[in-house]
Symmetry: C2
């Protein structure tokens, strides 16, 4: 029975700089598993996608009124989920290295844990995950060989894989994060659409 139910699947597209990706990333594994939905974690970069819309910064910085609302809204959402939250001093952060390391880890067995640990560092502990030493620290705390993995993450193969993943996000019509894409291509955008995406995946 469990095997049969695991045929439903969902792609979870996230960006480490994305504030609303934080509550989604911290709970999605649990809620998807509870409903028997297989999850694929898909880190990508929003920067190149924002650039095609003419933005060289987060819209939350470009439109400060919207940004002020977002920080308050995120604070409320995290409180409702009993998720710790600290607004980081720097926003948005450089997420290229974290995304590349995530691709390395997701091909092995420590990727999801790494992703959650990066979000915790950024939005709970208020650290700057754009600094390589912070990524190294996260890897070490997970019992991984930080230097070897970070070297691998900067290989041409992984760099190309992240570019390809970002290109695929754009092709799927993704313009923000988190986004959820069902097996039939149905797209849901936003932490507040996670339940709707899970419902759709089971249709």
């Amino acid at each position: 029975l469990q095997v049969a139910r695991m045929t439903a699947s969902l792609d979870f597209w996230f960006e480490f700089a994305s504030t609303y990706s934080y509550p989604a990333a911290m709970r999605i594994a649990e809620v998807a598993a509870a409903r028997g939905i297989a999850l694929r974690w898909r880190p990508f970069l929003l920067g190149p996608i924002f650039k095609t819309q003419g933005w060289d910064n987060s819209p939350f910085n470009l439109y400060p009124v919207k940004g002020r609302y977002m920080w308050r809204d995120l604070e409320r959402i995290c409180a409702d989920l009993s998720l710790p939250f600290t607004r980081p001093a720097l926003f948005p952060q450089n997420t290229i290295l974290a995304s590349r390391v995530a691709l390395v880890g997701l091909a092995r067995d420590w990727g999801e844990g790494f992703c959650r640990a990066v979000y915790t560092a950024e939005f709970d502990e208020g650290r700057n995950i754009g600094e390589p030493e912070q990524i190294a620290d996260v890897l070490t705390s997970l019992g991984q060989d930080a230097q070897a993995i970070m070297a691998e993450a900067q290989s041409d193969q992984i760099k190309a894989a992240l570019r390809a993943q970002t290109d695929e996000a754009a092709r799927l019509g993704i313009f923000g994060a988190p986004s959820f894409v069902c097996a039939d291509g149905e797209l849901f955008w936003g932490n507040d659409r996670l339940d709707a995406a899970l419902d759709w995946a089971l249709k």
Copy 2:
């Protein structure tokens, strides 16, 4: 008991051109009443607020990828609510007259019904509510004297009232519609935040 429970209140800020305001407007009276929350309907214009952000059109037109997603998302939301939905040929529509008439009606007893009828005309029947004859038709169908009310709606007093209402929205930090503002000033943006706003209003 009923009187005591009615002390909780919520301001419902909406714009007739706003797609996500449609599902909110069609269900808010019922869900607020079910929880004993007194509702104030507050039409305003998004155009002047968008202008301060440098937009001369709806962001759903300025950013077509986001626009495509919105129409699909709205279709799904309306289906979930069993709410009829037809994408209007023109978007966004000119909502100045409808908003002024709404202000006239909300000061009497037919305002809420008028607002719902305008949304139905626009997003169910696919009509252009920017045309005065459509607004006249809606008023007539509600048993009102269309010509007298439309003349009143174009008075200096009502024009000023709509400007003041839009200015107040901007002062409250409103940047999109629908928005919900609790008695303590707490702001919620989006149809998907209606339940959270009702929860907050009862705190």
